[in-house]
Structure formats: structure tokens, C-alpha cells
Symmetry: none
Subunit: 211 residues, 4 copies
DNA sequence: CATGAATGAGAGTTCATTCAT
DNA sequence: GATGAATGAACTCTCATTCAT
């Protein structure tokens, strides 16, 4: 009689393989770049042999694409749902979404995907298109929609949507790149935490710089 | 009237070679990344043979470093001089500097160097330190100084310096990455020009989003 | 009766590879010199592809070093043992050792290593030191000891040790170089075999040239 | 009226060029080996530019051959003349010739040629044949002739010519290789000078080792 | 004639990918 | 399915040789 409860460890491992490989690929691609990461390293980090990687992904390129696809659009939907059911002032929602994005995406591994997409966009045009369609444009539409809501309700001044969207996205991107490119080498010293910085930037954005 | 006896072509070429090679390297490294660019391609684009590259730069790494050094620190000094001799409201100066930086650095070839530094920082820690010392920190100090001036003169509200600096830099970096990563593939459709966008973002920053 | 189930060929090859590569390297380095031998040739002679060589030795230099270490110091110990357990006249022992060394080292592939060490000593100072420590000095000590024994027992005249050691080693080295440098091209015609020549030289050494 | 006494310095240089180049080539080929010596190094050492070398010798190979030819057979003739006109015991003549060869050939630059011929014989078969014809065989014939003279006059025992010739040449070759391969790196310590060693070896050869 | 900038064939080395075990 | 030994295309770099100046 086969065990009813747990799968055999070997089986469990096997099911987890693709995810483990994608995680390893993500970490290494972000840290060292796509070209500078050897496929054997990815396999080793996932705890398997070189050849095993190729049982799951037919090439390094495909591994990269799978890794990007796996780690992208997840949080966009969440944020959209949050936005849809929100009532009251938009400013607070935005602040909340910014912090949530940073905590879940920017600061974590998914943030690395954003960095690496910027870098490799030229080498993976189809992926770049995919990224724009699935990430950039939905995000811009989501934020753009919020700004329109805020303007309609009178919470916000009449501002150009496109520029405002850019201005809201830019700080997070900046922080992300600082973190993933120069972050952990003690090269970059900040007096405020990332969260404090983002919050302060949001306040500035809302109230403006002029006295 | 041009000189009747020009320098011998051979000699003229020799003097121009380093610059030609650096230009070729810049273009290719920005377009394809450091690792994905073959040194022979750089030579070919500069119109010379493979071996000639190595007469001027002892390795691909050194070529990269030279290319970075060549294209950085040039415009920092200019901006600092502009700021030092400026009188009157800071806001206008900032707008002006933003546009100037975009025109001279962000939009042009030097902007590509910023992108590529993000990518290769981890692979060239020594160069990353150089970049932070020569580019990032001076820029932050320059902009931070302007904000302090504005606050002392009463032009600006009392704002946290660090967050404000980040918020001023972020839009330019964002635009730069859009341009250099997704720009010339028709993937990214904008309704405003880069200059208009930056200007609109500056206005937003000054006046704030809230009604 | 051979075993019915032999080890898998793939595995068998793997165990044999280092030795096969060292043998190929020895043959080619001796024949053509270190620099003139392409690493791909070594691989080809060992029956593998270029890349395979680098799975076993990280560089051509390391391959060379491994090849030298592999082929030295082996026979010194044998000779020393032979000498230690010998009783009776030294002259016979010397004659015997000379012939043994020629048969096992000088004439064979190991002899080529001696030749190649002469050539490459300047390019591998660390290896030259190793060779002096492991081969030259032990040999000199061994032979010097025998001469002292012969002098103490009254078999030999009172002779200067150092000069005598040199004089005993020289003929073998000379023969070795003749063989490995001009040998198999039909350039060098001898009327006596190497063994006869060495024996005759030994006799001469013992009895002297004068009437 | 042209100068009667000295040629113009430029002219003097030009005439000396070939010799200077050959000297430089000799020194470097002996020190580093043929393959490891770059032709530019040879030119630099001769105080000319890379291209100039090729005005005198059409290739690195030809330079090598010229260098060998230049430095070979010179002293054989001298020794032969010395031998021809010698009267009295052969032993003294041999001792004298040995010392003279060491002083003029073995120890000096020509000695290096002998070393490098051993090494490169396989890569330059025609040169090897030339070397055998012009150096090895005349030397052997010269020494062989002396031994025959000594035997005929009763000064020497009846010995096998070939073996005796080898035995007389071997010590010098041994010394030469020690000197040129391991010599100037402090790796090889001797208590006697080369001249003393050769003299002691000659005595040993004459009187034999046995009591 | 001398020069040295330029060349490009060729060598060492790496690593994505394959496939026998 | 998993493995890792083997492969060879591709890449960086060197250096003998050429030739315009």
C-alpha cells in the first residue's frame, strides 16, 4: 500500500526542481548578469548536476525567459485588486501601494528581475515586449487610473497623467537599482532606510517642494 | 583656407585611434552589454583589425574602464560651475540643469555609460567605487547643496535633503533607462517628448500633487 | 578468463585519461618542444577533444608540470635501494646502475624529460628548482657516496669526488641528448650500440687512457 | 673628396647591424628559447626597430639559422691547426684544447649555440644536419685522430676510438648545459670552478679510477 | 633605408550543450 | 530521470610579418 500522506522525498524534490532552478537562476542572473553566470553555477546552486538543468529548460536563454515570466506579473494583479476596492483619499492608497511594492517586489528577488530586464532588454526583444505588455503598461495604467480618480474627486490638482506616472515610478526604480547594483558592497551609505526614503519622497511629491 | 600640406594620414589615424576605439566600445557595450560584445566587433566598428585594438588597450577590461572614465566626470564639473555662478531662484536653475544634463548626458552616448555601470558594477567593483566617487556622490552633493540654498533663502519648504535629492535624480535615471533599454525598438510609446516629460515632472515636484 | 562484466567504458576512460594525457604530452613536448606543441595536439594524441584536456589540467603550463613530476623521481629511489643493498666491488655496481639507468630512463620516454628540463628550466624556474632538488642532487649524492665507499675500501684511488661524479654522469647525459636530439632522424651514425658505448666508456673511466 | 679615414657613423652602424642582430638573437634564444623569444625583443636588444630586423633577415627562422651558422665552425679550424702543428705527448694537447674550448666556446656565447642546437634540432632538421656535418663530426674526427696518434706512439693504451671520443666530449657538454640551463639562478652550487673541474676530469680520464 | 602602425592567422581557454551510462 | 564526461564553437589575446610613411 503506497503512503497516503507524503510523497516520496525523491518525488517531492522532482516537483520542486523547476522552482529551485528558477530561484537559483534569478539570484545569479541578478547578481552577476546573464552572460557572466555559467549554467553550471545555476545547477549547482539548485543542488543538481549540470545536465539536469537541461531536462527542465532546453537552453540558458529559455531558462532566463522562464525565470522572468515566473517572477513578473504576480503582484500587479494584487495591487489592481487593492486599488479597485479602495475607498477614500487616493494619496494614502498610493503610499500604501508604494510600500507594499517595495516590500514584496522591489526589495526582494522580483526586484532583481526588473533590474535584469532593463539590462537584457536588447538581447531578448520578445521578452522586452512581454515585459512592457505585462508589467510596464499595466503598472502605468493602474497608477494613471488612480491619478485620474484623484483628479476627478478633486483630491489632486489637474496634472499631466503621463508625467505624473513617471514621477511616481521613478523613485522606486532608482532605489531598486541602487540596491541591486551598488547595494551590498558597503559602497553606498544612506542615512535613512529605504522605507523612510520612499515615504519621504511620497510626501514631497504630494506637497511639492516650493514653500 | 585649409593647410596645403596636411599631416600624413597614417599619423593622423594613430592619434585618432584611441578616441575611435572608445567611441566604438561605448556604442557596442551600451547596445549589447559588455560580455556580449566581442572585442573584434569593437575593432571592426572602429575600422581596424582585431590586433590593433590591443595596441591601444591591453585587454577588453581595460578598454571598458577607459571607456567609462572617458565618458564620466566630464559634465559634473560643468554643472557645478553653472550652479556656483547662478543667482536668483533655485527652481529655475534646477529645471535648467535637468534639461542640460538630459541633453548632454542622459540622451546622448554618455547616458549609456550610466546604464552600463548599473549592469557591470558587480563585475568591476573597483570601477563601481570609482563611479560612486566620481559621479554619484558629486551629483548628490551638488543637488543637495542647491536644496539647502533654496531652503535658507525661503524659496523651498523645510524638506529632508536626502529624500529630495533622490527624488530629483530618479526621473532622469528612469528616463535614461527607458530610452536605452526599450527606446529604439518602438516598444515604448510616449505622447510627450523626453524634454517635455522632464519639465512636467519638475513642475509637479515643485508644486506637489495635492490640490 | 576475463570478467564478464567490465566497468563501463566511459568510467574506465575517465580513470585512464590523466595518464593518457600525460603520455601524449610527454611524447609531443619531447619531440617538438613545449611552445611548439599545441594543446589541441596533445588532446588529439590522447584521443580526446581540445576541451577535455582542460577538464584534467587547468592550463598548458600545469600539464607540463604534471608531466615532469610524473616522469621524474621514480627511478632515483630504485637506484638508491640497489646501491644500499650492494656488497662487493663498487665498479661492477656502477656499471650495472649505468646500464639500468639507460634502459629505464635515458633510452625511454623519461629520458626525454631530462632533455626538456634543460630547455625549459629558464621558463619554469620553480620547476627547475624542483628538478634540481628531486633529481640532480639526489643523483649526485648517490654517486658521490659510491665513490667514497670505493675509496675507503681501497678499490679506488684518492680522487676528487665532485669531478668524478660529473665524469660519471656526463656520458649518459651526452648519449641521451644525442638520442633525443639527433637520434631518430638518421643523422647520427654510430658503429656501436648505446649499451656498448656506455660500457666501453665505463671501462675507460676505470682504467684510464694512459698506457 | 670623400673622407679617407673613418666612415660616417651612420654607415658604421649599418655595417655592424647584422652582427648586432645576430648577437642579440644568440643571447635571447639561449636565454629564453627560440619560441619564447619575440622578434621584437631581438630588434630592441640590437637597438633597432622591429621592421629593421626584417630588412636583414627575411624571417625569424632565417635569423635563427644565420645566428647558428655565424657562431659555429669558427673554433674547430683553430683547434685542428693547433693539433696539426703539435709535437710531443697528446695528453697535454688535449688538456690544452679542452681548456681553450671551454674558454672560447663553451663558456661564452658560442656555447649557447650548442645548447640551443640540441634543443631545436628537431624543429630545424636541415640545420641539425649542418651542425652535425660542420661541428659534431669534425670535432669527433679531430679528437679521434689525436687518440689514434697517441695509441700509435704508445702514449695511450689500445682503446676503442668512438667510446673514447664520446667520453672526452661528454664532460664539456655536461658543464655547458649546467651552465646555460641552471647556471645563473643560484640554483646550482659547485665547490670547484669550471676550469678546475674540467682539469680534474681530464686527469681522471687519463689515469683511471681504479687504484 | 628605418620605422612602427597595422594586420590576421593561430594559440590558449571557456562553457553551453549533448549523450552514454 | 539524473549525471557529469566529453565536445567544439566561440572568444580573448599574441606576435611574426608587412608596408605606407
Amino acid at each position: 500500500m503506497p503512503p497516503l500522506v507524503t510523497a516520496a522525498p525523491r518525488q517531492r524534490r522532482k516537483d520542486a526542481r523547476p522552482q529551485e532552478l528558477l530561484d537559483a537562476a534569478l539570484a545569479l542572473f541578478v547578481e552577476k548578469g546573464f552572460a557572466a553566470t555559467r549554467s553550471e553555477e545555476v545547477a549547482a546552486r539548485a543542488g543538481v548536476a549540470k545536465g539536469t538543468l537541461y531536462r527542465y529548460y532546453p537552453s540558458k536563454d529559455e531558462l532566463f525567459k522562464a525565470m522572468v515570466r515566473e517572477n513578473l506579473s504576480v503582484h500587479i494583479a494584487e495591487s489592481a485588486a487593492l486599488a479597485a476596492q479602495h475607498e477614500g483619499p487616493i494619496a494614502g492608497l498610493m503610499r500604501q501601494m508604494m510600500q507594499a511594492w517595495w516590500a514584496k517586489v522591489g526589495h526582494g528577488k522580483a526586484g532583481g528581475v526588473c533590474k535584469i530586464m532593463m539590462i537584457e532588454a536588447r538581447n531578448f526583444p520578445e521578452l522586452a515586449a512581454f515585459y512592457i505588455d505585462e508589467v510596464i503598461e499595466p503598472s502605468q495604467r493602474l497608477i494613471g487610473g488612480l491619478i485620474e480618480r484623484g483628479m476627478r474627486s478633486g483630491e489632486f490638482r489637474a496634472v499631466p497623467i503621463e508625467a505624473t506616472v513617471h514621477l511616481l515610478i521613478a523613485p522606486m526604480l532608482h532605489m531598486l537599482l541602487q540596491e541591486h547594483s551598488f547595494g551590498d558592497q558597503g559602497l553606498c551609505h544612506r542615512t535613512m532606510s529605504a522605507e523612510e526614503l520612499l515615504d519621504a519622497q511620497m510626501s514631497l511629491l504630494l506637497h511639492g517642494l516650493l514653500a
